[in-house]
């Protein structure tokens, strides 16, 4: 029941996203401008009119929207303005790269964040706690692109000119082509994403764990004579992980459209990089396609998080 409602809400959200996207990109710039921009500066009016007709830009907005949604429902995101390539193909080329980024970075930040957060909560005010929280605040304040360029400067450039070429500076090697190069090339981007994200998790885990460790059932578990390790890892962590998990689901979903900067810094042609380039070329179908895929990722991951709740926190199952 709960999940059905959640699913319906997800569909509603996706519909509204398509409306907003449509308003921004179709109605916002004005159809004449779109055709004009596509035709080029010196194109004769006939060419502009032809382009407008071919892209349905001369039709009323509801026809355009209907066409847009009809295509969407059939898994068709249209064709890019310049090379007539299917947007689904363009998106499909970017997805493995963006996913590679997320798949590698997520475990790193989750591990760093949860472990340091737990340690901090179990030893509040200790030196380690203070260091962890200070580092967390510092990385939390670091813009992704600043961390990225500084990592390139220090770990790529400085190491390379001193003869230690550990990491490449930019570019992407597909996993299927050479797993080792794939891994090597992604370490710095992973670190960039993970260190910034981990900071949030350290803070989140620490405060959640502190709350949980003060609860009655933890005292009961200790009073029963359970080992400290069992109390912390089995009883406390389970409840403390709920807010962490929520954040994790949201972050992973958001990251599909949120690796823009990391991809730009390291020259990885994933979804974000493709979107930025499409924006520079005013290639609307490509931008719309990527925005919709990215929004869908957020919606799906939010639903997945809600479903996962029940498994992790027994208290949710009772409701």
């Amino acid at each position: 029941m709960f999940l059905t409602r959640r699913l319906a809400l997800g569909i509603l959200v996706m519909w509204l996203v398509t409306v907003i996207v449509f308003v921004i990109f179709y109605i916002g710039p004005g159809s004449a401008d779109v055709a004009r921009a596509l035709a080029g500066r010196d194109a004769p009016p006939a060419t502009v009119a032809l382009i407008a007709r071919r892209l349905l830009l001369d039709r009323p907005w509801y026809v355009q929207y209907g066409h847009f949604v009809w295509g969407l429902l059939h898994g068709n995101l249209g064709f890019d303005y310049y090379h007539d390539e299917a947007v689904t193909t363009i998106v499909a080329q970017g997805i493995p790269i963006t996913l590679s980024l997320i798949v590698g970075a997520a475990p790193i930040w989750l591990a760093i964040g949860v472990l340091t957060g737990m340690y901090s909560a179990r030893h509040p005010r200790s030196f380690a706690d203070r260091s962890f929280t200070t580092f967390a605040l510092a990385f939390y304040s670091t813009p992704t692109f600043v961390l990225g360029v500084l990592l390139i400067l220090l770990l790529y450039y400085q190491l390379t000119i001193h003869g230690i070429a550990l990491f490449p500076g930019s570019g992407y090697t597909p996993l299927t082509q050479n797993p080792f190069e794939w891994f090597r090339g992604l370490i710095l981007p992973w670190l960039t994403l993970a260190l910034v994200a981990a900071a949030t998790y350290t803070r989140l885990t620490r405060s959640a764990m502190l709350d949980v460790l003060g609860e009655d059932y933890v005292r009961t578990a200790r009073a029963k004579g359970l080992g400290e390790r069992r109390v912390v890892w089995r009883h406390a962590l389970r409840a403390a992980l709920t807010p962490v998990l929520t954040q994790f689901g949201i972050d992973v979903g958001t990251l599909v459209g949120g690796t823009v900067i990391t991809e730009q810094v390291f020259g990885l042609p994933g979804l974000g990089w493709t979107a930025v380039h499409a924006i520079q070329e005013q290639d609307l179908p490509v931008i719309i396609g990527i925005v919709i895929v990215a929004s869908a990722a957020v919606v799906v991951s939010n639903i997945a998080v809600d479903a996962l709740y029940a498994f992790v926190d027994p208290r949710v199952r009772l409701h």
Binding site: I24, R122, S141, T142, P143, V146, I261, S295, V298
Partner: protein, 337 residues
Amino acid sequence: MLTPPEAAAPRDLETQSDDPRGHSSAQNARSIEGRSPWRLALERLRRDRLSLVALGVILLIVLIAIFAPFIAKATGHGVDTQYPTIGLTPTGLPRPPNSVFPLGTDDLGRTLLVRIAYGARVSLLVGVLATLMTVTIGAALGLVAGYFGKVVDTLIARAVDVMLSIPFLLFAIALASVVSVTPLHLGPFSLSKGIPIVVLVIGIFSWATVARIVRGQVIAIRSREYIEAARALGASSWRIIIFDVLPNVLPTIIVYATLLIPVSIVAEAALSYLGVGIPPPTADWGSMIADAQSYYQQAWWFLTFPSLALLMTTLAFNILGDGVRDAIDPRGTPFKS
């Protein structure tokens, strides 16, 4: 042996409780007077040394921003003035820091120090204005949704869901680039590029979280007796919202606003880094870092100094934000303990 968190709790209470009975007796004997929650918060903030340092750094950056023209005058270099002969090496690369150019030059032979000082203006202005806009929209919608409930609440809550599902950066760069091609007409103003657009874009895509937090608080307050009393006295809904509800959610709004400033500053820098923010030649930290990325092998200063400026600003605001939160809401789990 593990330190149980209870052991730490009494100390927390003593220093952070806003209940006067929690103070030591010596302090009580010295001054027994009614102190407003705001004053208590201010006093707690004044005892937080780290926050004071952060505040000092912020004030310094504000001063640098205000007096940027004086810094330009002191070096004798204009913010956009290019020095192709003395500012660039014979091969056309930026010059390292020296007595003429204290922090070196950029790729066009402009004085980095002056440009960083002017960049502070953009960052602070956008940070504060975008935060104001975000908080105003978010608080207004949150108050309305929480107080009136029913259809209004459902509509606003769904709008919040949609806004939170939207990938911020993708939409922001898309909207910024669309607007740069087709200017936005707002009454007599025609906006296409620059600070107003960046502020607008950040505000439009960030209000949802504020609305959600405020809405939750208002729902908790709505059924209190004093609201009912106000209603019984014949106060209108808007009067109750502004005079009875708003003051009670204001601390939350202030805490959130302090923490939003660095987020807005980073958002502006990120947009400019991606080339859809503040257009050149305006000095801006984000676009300076973007330009510097092509020269990091030859000119470390070009990349490092704007990065440090941005980093110091966001760090200072985040530390202050944490301090303000702990001072205003001492019962919340303090991050710095």
